[in-house]
Amino acid sequence: MKREDFLRESVVQMRLNSKMTVNELIQQFSNSGCFGAGRLSTACDIFEQMIRDDECTIFLAMAGAVVPAGLRTVISDIIRKKLVDVIVSTGANVVHDLIEALGGHHYKGHWLVDDSLLYGYHIYRIYDVFVPEEDFVKLDMVMADMFDEIARENKGHTLSSRELAREIGSRLRDSNSILRVAYEANIPVFLPAIRDSEFGLFYRFHMKRHSEDKLLRVDAFKEVSEIVDLAIKSPRLGMIVLGGGVPRNTIQHAAVTAGKGLDYAVVITMDRPETGGLSGSTLEETVSWGKVKKKAAKVMVIGDALIVFPMMVAAVLERLGDNFVRKAV
């Protein structure tokens, strides 16, 4: 590269006004093009490209406590609008979806609190979100009964986490529930780390009440073929990651196993790459594995998903307009 190549595009100072929309603000971020503002505007562009690409299957990875903190309806709305095609989530986010689906609540709290006092009051803390223990307890009971019913109806048939999520979604009545909306929209939900959450306790309660032959059977490996087959059938692959961890790598593994690599990738995280952990690993590092294509449209936004993702969705919805209908892949 020559010297002038490094000095091709100048930073345009942002201009704000009292009437600007979210997308107009993002456009100002784009004019800057720097730091988090530049990355967020690029993330919006990539998300819009994925949606407008009729041959792209969009995977959404959810890790971290995005549902307890308030992204539940944002996620169920984009599922309903079919702006994503596949959900891959931690078990925990779905557990918190279920808590709300059954009438429980998450409460605004504080990170500076006497946690032993919370313990005494049977209240759990997720950074600055409080959840009463009874919401988990009641969920355990409802879900253990639901597991009994699903086991009875499936008569020894072994389910994948996707099939289990669909069974649960079909039994919920809350129209804002991620699992319910995914069921209605026929969007698969994969829960690759399902046992590492309250789901493990649901199963334990269910297990203690039944003999071996009457137990719900879930095979952690069954979903591997399911998600890889989805990737194989899709001409192009896109990924949006809230957090990282197991959900992110489940998608990346599917892409590389399908022999393709991802064409679009947006990762929103606050983790760092130096540990070698996947939540903080850069998308350039991911290219070395073949999980993301070298020429993919990709960006990593270092920021709180609770701020970044709603802005991204709001800006893209504004660009698409109310009448936009995405073509099914």
Binding site: S116, Y119, G120, H122, E134, V137, M141, F205, R209
Partner: protein
């Protein structure tokens, strides 16, 4: 001294034999009802009053406010009942 400090100040006192002081409990309708984790897998009578007790009682190694608050509530209700 607030309520929490008062309750924490009693840490070393022996705990009264109530389900709400038993090791095997979680909140169900705080502070009145708890779920007994021993009975729950058997599917019978697992939602019990915080102020009940059974022969499987095990003292809770950590402090919670279930019994204190259930007793206060019961006393309040009793006073209100007498006023009527």
């Amino acid at each position: 001294m607030n309520k929490a400090q008062r309750i924490r100040g009693r840490k070393s006192e022996p705990r009264s034999k109530f389900c709400g002081n038993c090791y095997y409990h979680d909140a169900y309708e705080y502070p009145d009802l708890i779920i007994c984790k021993l009975r729950y897998p058997n599917g019978t009578d697992f939602v019990v009053s915080t102020l009940e007790c059974c022969e499987n009682w095990e003292p809770d190694p950590q402090e919670c406010f279930c019994v204190q608050e259930a007793l206060e509530k019961r006393n309040r209700n009793s006073v209100e009942h007498h006023k009527e």
